[in-house]
């Protein structure tokens, strides 16, 4: 067998700096996500959610389509959380754990590349793939909005709500990457993220506000309510929650928009950095 005829002079091989490596690896990871079955599956789920909501809105249009703010508040507010959590689970649940479980990490970690580069590139790729799902849901929403209210009547709150949704996505993905870094088995990351973000944090928020009777600023679901809240006239723009009486006389808190953004950014920073810290110390044993 012939040896390779194309030798590369050592001076021609200069390992790129970390930032270009992040961008390169992000590109390859994103392509993997976009070609994966899970991307197609999630695409189907998001379209299904959009179709179901469109049908519900169409059926109850007298109540839900009274004005465009309440329409966007109800439609967007009802669906985008689910889209975000499912996207984070699908794209982030095994992002780190899968590298250990599927042994793909052994392929990457033999390269002259920092662990932080791998982590950041995978995060950005998962974030972009998830953002694509959020935008798809937005297109379905805008399509409905155009149908009921005409093409030129998109409220400015929609743009702010989209920014909040993207911030929430970053926070959820940060937590997902943390869980994924905690375990070497992908299923644990999937299950923990789904349980916490679909039920766990909401229950915790109710317990903190209802039983302990303090503002649940430390729970991410508290900040999540701002995404739909920006559409309503009672919107609190401040940095402290407002108090009201709940259905059973419990104390209820509603996060201010500023407060929500701070909570989301804090969750993103703390969880993403903690996940990176764990991944830096994880052994491929």
């Amino acid at each position: 067998m012939a040896t390779p005829t194309v030798a590369i002079p050592a001076t021609h091989r200069i390992v790129p700096d970390s930032l270009p490596q992040v961008l390169k690896l992000t590109r390859y990871q994103l392509r993997e996500y976009l070609r994966s079955r899970r991307f197609l599956a999630l695409l189907g789920i998001v379209v299904t959610i959009g179709v179901i909501l469109s049908a519900v809105v169409g059926h109850f249009r007298g109540v839900l389509v009274s004005d465009n703010l309440s329409f966007y508040g109800n439609f967007w507010g009802s669906g985008v959380y689910l889209v975000i959590v499912l996207s984070a689970v699908f794209f982030g649940g095994d992002a780190i754990a899968g590298e250990f479980q599927n042994k793909t990490g052994y392929f990457l970690m033999g390269l002259p590349i920092r662990r932080s580069t791998v982590y950041v590139a995978k995060f950005i790729a998962a974030f972009l793939a998830s953002t694509a799902m959020v935008l798809l849901f937005l297109v379905i929403l805008v399509g409905n909005g155009a149908f009921y209210f005409g093409g030129g009547l998109f409220p400015w709150q929609l743009a702010l709500s989209l920014v909040l949704a993207i911030a929430y996505l970053a926070a959820v993905l940060g937590a997902t990457f943390l869980f994924s870094s905690l375990f070497k088995t992908s299923a644990y990351g999937f299950v923990l993220t789904a349980i916490l973000f679909l039920f766990g944090f909401s229950i915790l928020e109710s317990l903190v506000s209802g039983l302990i009777k303090i503002e649940p600023w430390m729970v991410i679901s508290y900040a999540q309510s701002t995404i739909g809240g920006v559409f309503f006239s009672t919107t609190n723009w401040g940095f402290h929650g407002t108090i009201s009486a709940g259905v059973f006389g419990n104390t209820m808190y509603t996060a201010g928009i500023g407060e929500g953004i701070v909570i989301m950014v804090a969750y993103f920073l703390v969880t993403a950095l903690l996940g990176l810290f764990l991944f830096e110390r994880e052994e491929f044993s």
Binding site: M1, T3, I8, A10, K24, N102, Y106, F107, P112, I113
Partner: protein, 315 residues
């Protein structure tokens, strides 16, 4: 291309109370293939993972081309090709895409990348499969792509962890041919294996490790010369599986026996000192023990004899 170097200094790895690697010292330099030999669990993979920063040492450090792996992973691995534990490539990638990613991240110039990828795919006999999805490949094909990925940047140092393990006989033979061909280039190849014939066939030097400790490091020629007349080993096949205590007890205490290696439940390799006279007595004793001996043949590899005596002795 100047040949590379590997230096392992006082490398120790503990997993809880278990010492997987115990102050390993080893320096390899020049263009050659060094076999890293030892039984399963000896610490070979642990050492190679430490050498490539996949796990972290309890003590000590290692260098590739004079650069500390622990302090400067990125620089140290820049001129090394690594294959540890048969990694999986993202299944939706084709070999061309996977190698493109590796070459891109390693800084192979875009103008040279395509030619280089074609060259390494040809080298591992996968040129016709460049555009097929890796997820459909057999284990042997994936391993060949992994070897190609380790070579795509034309490294000075190649680190291979049991590259033929888990492959069928044909796959093993193909991988050995590939590694043997790598020696034609000016490279330092450090390859772990527990297969003696593989090391004998491919390597110029051998480092023997057991229980995390280096037992010896020498050229294969010196190892062969070290086996003086009168030392030998025989492969004995029994009609039925042999209880382990019989091998470690009764047979181990027979006159002249220096070591025993269980090749399978019904097959032992027995090392001995004392030439033909002892070999004759050994056969008589084994038959006399009524263990169901069905054949006894001489095993001829000098490396096997050294391996057998050093591993069994627990040096």
């Amino acid at each position: 291309m100047a040949s590379g170097s590997i230096r392992i200094a006082g490398l120790t790895k503990r997993f809880g109370s278990f010492v997987a690697l115990d102050h390993l010292n080893l320096t390899l330099e020049g263009s050659k293939c060094v076999g890293f030999l030892g039984p399963n669990g000896a610490g070979k993979t642990t050492a190679l993972k430490l050498l490539t920063d996949m796990i972290f040492p309890t003590e000590g450090e290692c260098e590739i081309n004079g650069i500390s792996v622990q302090k400067e992973r990125k620089r140290a691995l820049a001129d090394a090709g690594v294959l540890i534990e048969s990694p999986e490539i993202y299944p939706s990638m084709t070999p061309n895409e996977a190698l493109e990613m590796v070459a891109d991240l390693r800084g192979v110039p875009a103008s040279e990348r395509k030619d280089r990828i074609q060259a390494v795919l040809a080298e591992v006999k996968m040129a016709d499969w460049g555009n097929q999805k890796v997820g459909r490949f057999s284990k042997g094909m994936k391993q060949r792509i992994n070897i190609a990925a380790a070579l795509v940047h034309d490294p000075q140092v190649v680190i291979l962890d049991e590259p033929s393990t888990g492959l069928d006989p044909r796959g093993m033979a193909e991988v050995r041919t590939i590694v043997r061909d790598l020696k034609k280039s000016d490279r330092l190849i450090f390859m772990s294996s527990h297969i003696l014939s593989e090391v004998t066939e491919i390597c110029d030097e051998v480092a023997l490790i057991d229980h995390g400790k280096l037992l010896f490091y020498d050229t294969l020629n010196n190892v062969t010369a070290r086996v003086s007349e009168g030392h030998g080993s025989v492969d004995v096949v029994f009609a039925r599986p042999l209880p382990p205590e019989v091998a470690s007890g009764q047979i181990r205490t027979l006159t002249g026996v220096t070591g025993i290696l269980a090749l399978s439940p019904d097959r032992l390799r027995i090392g001995f000192d004392g030439g033909r006279a002892i070999q004759e007595k050994l056969l008589e004793s084994l038959v006399g023990m009524h263990l169901g001996v069905v054949s006894l043949t001489e095993s001829e590899s000098a490396l096997e004899e050294v391996y057998l005596s050093r591993i069994s002795r627990g040096d």
